[in-house]
């Protein structure tokens, strides 16, 4: 227990994160309101991804944890997207 895992995140930081998250929520609602055609999905998904990165790194402390946890999370995400990608090789080219 000698390593720096006792890092305590100040309350202020959490509030900033929350504000950012809520702002992005409204932005993603906004972006789907203006008609961007098929890009609106993309826009909404980009915001969702940014939001989840915030949640993962601060709320879930990944930023302060050992790097191998981050690697694992990245690996799981990668695996999942690869699976979706390969599934689409079927549906997209059918």
């Amino acid at each position: 227990m000698e390593n720096e895992k006792h890092h305590i995140v100040p309350y202020k930081v959490y509030i900033y994160i929350l504000v950012a998250l809520i702002a992005m929520t409204f932005m993603s609602i906004g972006i789907t309101k203006i008609n961007l055609g098929e890009y609106s999905v993309l826009g909404a998904m980009i915001f969702a991804t940014l939001k989840s990165i915030l949640v993962l790194s601060w709320f879930m402390h990944l930023k302060f944890d050992q790097p191998f946890l981050r690697i694992m999370v990245g690996f799981v995400a990668l695996l999942f997207f690869a699976v979706i990608f390969i599934t689409f090789l079927d549906y997209y080219f059918r």
Binding site: I8, V9, L18, L21, I29, V76, Y91
Partner: protein, 206 residues
């Protein structure tokens, strides 16, 4: 490489329980992941129907619920900080707020589903099967399954938080043994994380 020292107290290893929780979170992510694959494929196959059906959902309620979950995520995150700062009163308060928010989320969901039911839309309902196209059937099928499963996770999350709250009050979870609270927090953030994706996918497709 990594720390291999075994613990003097063999029954408490904070890193181990954190790692365990993360691994469990991975399985949850893939559980929903399976549904996201189904969603992605059917959305790809029925783009118009999904957009049409998406209009039936109420963005305002969705947005409110999103914000509720985000706030509750923050309060539970703060509660770990409070615990570490040995501020027991604040920890308990923050956890109570989190539970309240979760409850409000569920109540909202209840009314939201209720409205759908009033419109004759539920899995396998006559209205859905007879008057709507295949794409709509799939959209609502997935909507109920995914939000339903998510709601189930909210309930489980609440139970875990309540247990954690109890232990904080009793003093068995404290600054030196925060694992249970931390894990409850991680789980709660997972629930939030999933909602972050559910919200745009169901409510925001126009």
């Amino acid at each position: 490489m990594e720390h291999v020292a075994q613990h003097s107290d063999p029954h408490y290893d904070q890193e181990a329980s954190k790692l365990g929780m993360w691994l469990f979170i991975f399985t949850e992510l893939l559980l929903f992941g399976g549904l996201f694959i189904v969603y992605a494929i059917y959305r790809f196959l029925n783009p118009e129907a999904f957009q049409m059906a998406g209009h039936e959902l109420n963005i305002t309620i969705g947005a409110i619920n999103t914000i509720i979950l985000l706030v509750s995520s923050m309060t539970i995150a703060m509660s770990t900080s409070a615990l570490q700062k040995k501020n027991k009163g604040l920890t308990v308060l923050l956890l109570e707020i989190t539970i309240m928010l979760a409850l409000i989320f569920l109540i909202n969901k209840y009314f939201e589903w209720g409205v759908k039911f009033d419109h004759g839309i539920w899995p396998g309902s006559e209205h859905l099967l007879n008057d709507m196209g295949h794409g709509e059937v799939l959209f609502f099928g997935l909507y109920f399954v995914m939000t339903g499963l998510h709601a189930l996770h909210i309930v489980i999350g609440m139970i875990i938080i309540i247990v954690a709250l109890n232990k904080v009050q009793k003093g068995t979870v404290h600054a030196d043994r925060p694992s249970l609270l931390e894990n409850a927090g991680l789980y709660w953030h997972l629930v939030d994380l999933i909602w972050i994706f559910l919200f745009p996918l169901f409510y925001l497709i126009h």
